[in-house]
């Protein structure tokens, strides 16, 4: 019933994460209804992002300039590196405005049950930053590694492995605090969160 090109567009939208068939149809009909310049703006934005965005050669964040604006910013402390799993984690942490160091994006985490080892991630590049200051942002030696991995078993396994490697190199290691969320209620927290909160209590 529908022309092939429209069916193809619906299929492409439906392949996007979180988009079902009905939503894909709605998006396709929005494209059909919109003016040609409007529709081409979307098409060009997709083409542009695929052409110009790459990984930063220092931290593996997504960027259109190399090194990325964070690694190139001389107001930031390049001696403190916060390690995250994915670029979206970096964005979330950066939005807090609380961190003034630089990042390293692993592009995944260790998962021994799935056979994902250090070679599948950007670990060698991170270790090179620790070993050779010239490969770190602005040639600065790394003093501290902050492990900002997800607090699940795979994230913790990755953190333990990286901590061991950093300690061998004499680099100070810390990890993000864990426990009760601000605005949350003790009554609704699970046992693991409460145990973390008790173990990580702070002197007042």
């Amino acid at each position: 019933m529908l022309p092939d090109s429209v069916r193809r567009l619906i299929d492409e939208f439906a392949a996007l994460p979180g988009i079902g068939r009905r939503s894909a149809e709605r998006l396709a009909f929005w494209v059909l209804k919109s003016s040609t310049p409007e529709a081409m703006k979307l098409a060009n934005a997709i083409a542009e992002v695929k052409k110009s965005v790459k990984h930063c050669s220092v931290c593996w964040n997504l960027t259109d300039v190399d090194p990325c604006p964070i690694c190139g910013d001389d107001r930031r402390d390049a001696g403190v590196v916060l390690v995250v799993e994915q670029p979206k984690d970096l964005i979330t942490l950066e939005q807090t405005g609380m961190f003034n160091g630089v990042y390293h994006v692993l592009l995944g985490r260790l998962d021994p049950l799935d056979g994902v080892g250090p070679d599948s991630l950007t670990v060698s590049s991170l270790l090179a930053r620790l070993d050779k200051p010239a490969t770190n942002a602005r040639g600065t030696p790394v003093r501290e590694l902050i492990l900002g991995l997800n607090p699940d078993m795979e994230g913790d396994s990755t953190a333990l492995w990286l901590a061991e490697e950093a300690r061998k190199r004499g680099v100070q290691v810390s990890r993000l605090a864990r426990g009760l969320p601000t605005g949350g209620q003790i009554e609704f927290a699970n046992a693991a969160v409460l145990a973390d909160a008790i173990a990580g209590r702070q002197r007042m």
């Binding site: 979180g18 021994p112 049950l113 080892g117 699940d152 913790d156 333990l160 609704f188 046992a191 145990a195």
Partner: protein
Amino acid sequence: MPHLSDEAICVRHWDFSETSQTVSLFCRAGGMLRGLAKGAKRVGGRFSGGIDLLTLGQVVAITKPGRDLATLTDWTLTRTWRSLRSDLAANQAAYYLVDLVQRSLEQADPHPELFDALVEALDRIEAGHAAEATLVFQWRLLDELGYAPRLDPTVGTGTSVHFSADGGGTVAEERPNAWKVRRTTVAFLADVMSSADAAAVALAADRETLTRANRLLAAYVRHVLGTQPTTMRLLFPNL
């Protein structure tokens, strides 16, 4: 639709969508259960914020005949082992144990004694005895699956004994592919296996004997599984 409620340890999990998970749970009464936990990762939901690997909880699920995947309706986290998240040796030992479980057991094949052995092993790892826990659990798994090796430290002569994985344990004479193992290692393993308190025997052993016995059992497990899992390589790098 039958409901089940059981004590379970998560031995594998995968992201199904941004908020949902599929999980493999080792249930005490029901054995392995694969299930879908819709919205599991939402904070404050019915799944304690997500089902994490190597945690113990109470699961409620709906199973349908002929379907491999159950629908999980509730998960109450009851137990975590903190050292698995703070000590690399403990973490790698625990990964190895759950990997053995998820590779060895079929769906809906109950092994309550093995479940208890896994909980005991994780407790022992938590107490700082990862090597002893690994040894006893490897033995308990092999025994439960009917692959317990025959261990006779009196066969043959000299300080070493021939161990044939194909032959199911120690053998009197040399065979192709048989391993040469120390008589003391076999004697120690035989003690562990015949003791009512295997953990106490393992705890009393010297480090070298314990390491040798663990490696022998791991090599035998590798033979039984027909593959060497990554988790085994991490724990026994030169096996």
